[in-house]
Structure formats: structure tokens, C-alpha cells
Amino acid sequence: MAFAPSEAAAGPPLAVLKVLVAGGFGAGKTTMVGAISEVRPLTTEEVLTSASVGQDDLTGVGNKTTTTVAMDFGRITIGRHLVMYLFGTPGQPRFRFMWDELAYGALGAVVLADTRRLSDSFPAVDYFEGRNLPFVVAINCFNGVESHDPQDVRVALDLDPSVPALMCDARRTDSVRNVLVALVEHVMTGRARAGAGQ
């Protein structure tokens, strides 16, 4: 879809932001992206040697290998000229080659955690920590019942105290919006802290 003048106020966006939604299989990534934007499919059929923006470590990759990965993305028009893209990211470590490209230039990430399979969130948490990409953990409560204390999840994932962890219902627009607000606030807090010289 092109940025037709009628869509925003006038003219194409002045700023485009990228946010990743990562999580294990079935954690609700597509639901989350769909709750706040129109979801569209995207495929990557990547030869590993061109999989990322010239920065992947190809050590040990003797032969070229192609992998097809389907993912979802959505677009949120914010205000007059701001557009935020959400990319649902396969959470399994074998898709790690895609993460470098997805994380490149990203504002931050949401790790969508399913309390039934919390360990599925470990690779994403590790990856974003390692890349110093700001992220929040959104604990998806499918039935709307807060069956888990965010504090327990925080301990289980061994989260840094500065990383926000909050409950969310990935089906609800307002809930997903709150997660994104938490992420942007977290990015701003981190920046203020860096600016203060800590």
C-alpha cells in the first residue's frame, strides 16, 4: 500500500519507526499486531549469505542455504506524519539470521510471553539484551485473568530491573497500545539515563 495523500494529513510520512514483536510459536504475535493495525503477510526467502544487512556472522556456514519464513507486519499511522511498523518475529533461535535485519534501526521490541511456555521467551530476551535494543515484556493473558504475577515472570526471565514487564491481552487494541506506550516510555527513560551520564 502506498502512502496516499488522503491517508495521513498530506504527503508521505516524515518518520518511519520499526518495532519488533517477538515471541514463541503461538504466543499471540499475529493477534497482537492485528489488534492495533491491519496485518499483512511478508515472506523472506533468504539465502543465508544475504540474510542481513552485511553484518551477520557467517562463520561455519559453508554452503549457501535458503530458508523461507513467513511473518506478519502491520502499520500504525500516528498523528500526521508518523508511521510505526510492527514486525512479528519468529522467536525460535533458528530464525536468528532474520533478527539482525529486523533489529537494524529498530526503535525497540516487545517480547510477548506465554506463561505456559515461558522458556520460549528466553532467546528473544537474550538477543535484545545482547544487542542493547530496548524491550518490554508483555505477558499475554489469553483468558483475561491475571493468573500470573508479572513479578514472578520477571524473576523467571531474570529480567533487568529496568525492563518493564506488564500484563496484556493481545486481542485488545487498548491493551496493545499500552504495551507500545510502555515501550516508547522505556526507550525515552533509557535515553535520559544515558544522557545523565550513567
Partner: protein
């Protein structure tokens, strides 16, 4: 040569499925790296018939999409081709001077605090 081998001789060219559209190339020939959210747009007015001549249907389709600034992710989704293939085809059009980067997407340098504040206000107003 047996009949079964006939399609796989050197004249068949590279046997790479979606990358057949790119003549087997797996990365753009030159130019800046296009990120998923890099905006690209047609360079000038409507492309001349001469410019369109020799372009594959996929190239022409992308060129039409680029009438308005559009991201690589949107292009790939619209033409239902993998991102890697779309990136190469857009690169071809850039090389031909038909398409250019509209505005670099935020790279390692992050958006300003003012911009983030605007994002925050916009999200809260959703």
C-alpha cells in the same frame, strides 16, 4: 545425456526458485542497503515508454507502487515476493535512475526525543 538431465544443463541458468526473477543474484549489485522500512519513491514524473522497455513485469509493478513513497516491506507484501527478491528488484530500478530513496529510515542513529514524545502522544490518542 538422458532426458531427465536435459533441463539442468548450463543453459538452464541458475536453478534458484524465487531468485530466478533476479537472474540468480542474491544481493543488489550496488548502492545503499535497503532496510525493511526504507522509503523509496519514483525519481521523477511518469516513466517514459523507453524507460519501461526491457523492464520485467515485476519491475514495472514496483515502479507503479513507487508513485508514492513506499517502504520495502510494503512493496514486498504488495507483489507477494520475498523481501530479498524485492530488495534486488528495487535496487535495479535505483540503478536505472527510476527510483530513489525517499528518506533514509532511522538507522543506528535513533529518532529524536521530540519525535518520541510525539509518538507517545499519538499512541495515547489512538
Amino acid at each position: 545425456m538422458s532426458t531427465g538431465d536435459r533441463w539442468l544443463d548450463h543453459r538452464a541458468g541458475p536453478v534458484v526458485r524465487p531468485y530466478a526473477l533476479t537472474a540468480g543474484r542474491t544481493s543488489p549489485s550496488a548502492g545503499p542497503v535497503l532496510d525493511l522500512i526504507t522509503l523509496v519513491a519514483a525519481s521523477g514524473g511518469p516513466p517514459s515508454a523507453r524507460a519501461l522497455e526491457g523492464l520485467a513485469p515485476e519491475h514495472q509493478q514496483i515502479l507503479r507502487l513507487c508513485a508514492e513513497a513506499i517502504t520495502l516491506a510494503d512493496i514486498a507484501s504488495a507483489i507477494a515476493l520475498p523481501v530479498g527478491v524485492a530488495r534486488i528488484l528495487v535496487g535495479d530500478l535505483m540503478e536505472a535512475g527510476l527510483v530513489e530513496i525517499y528518506q533514509r529510515a532511522p538507522g543506528p542513529e535513533q529518532p529524536s526525543t521530540d519525535l518520541l514524545r510525539e509518538v507517545l502522544d499519538g499512541l495515547r490518542a489512538l
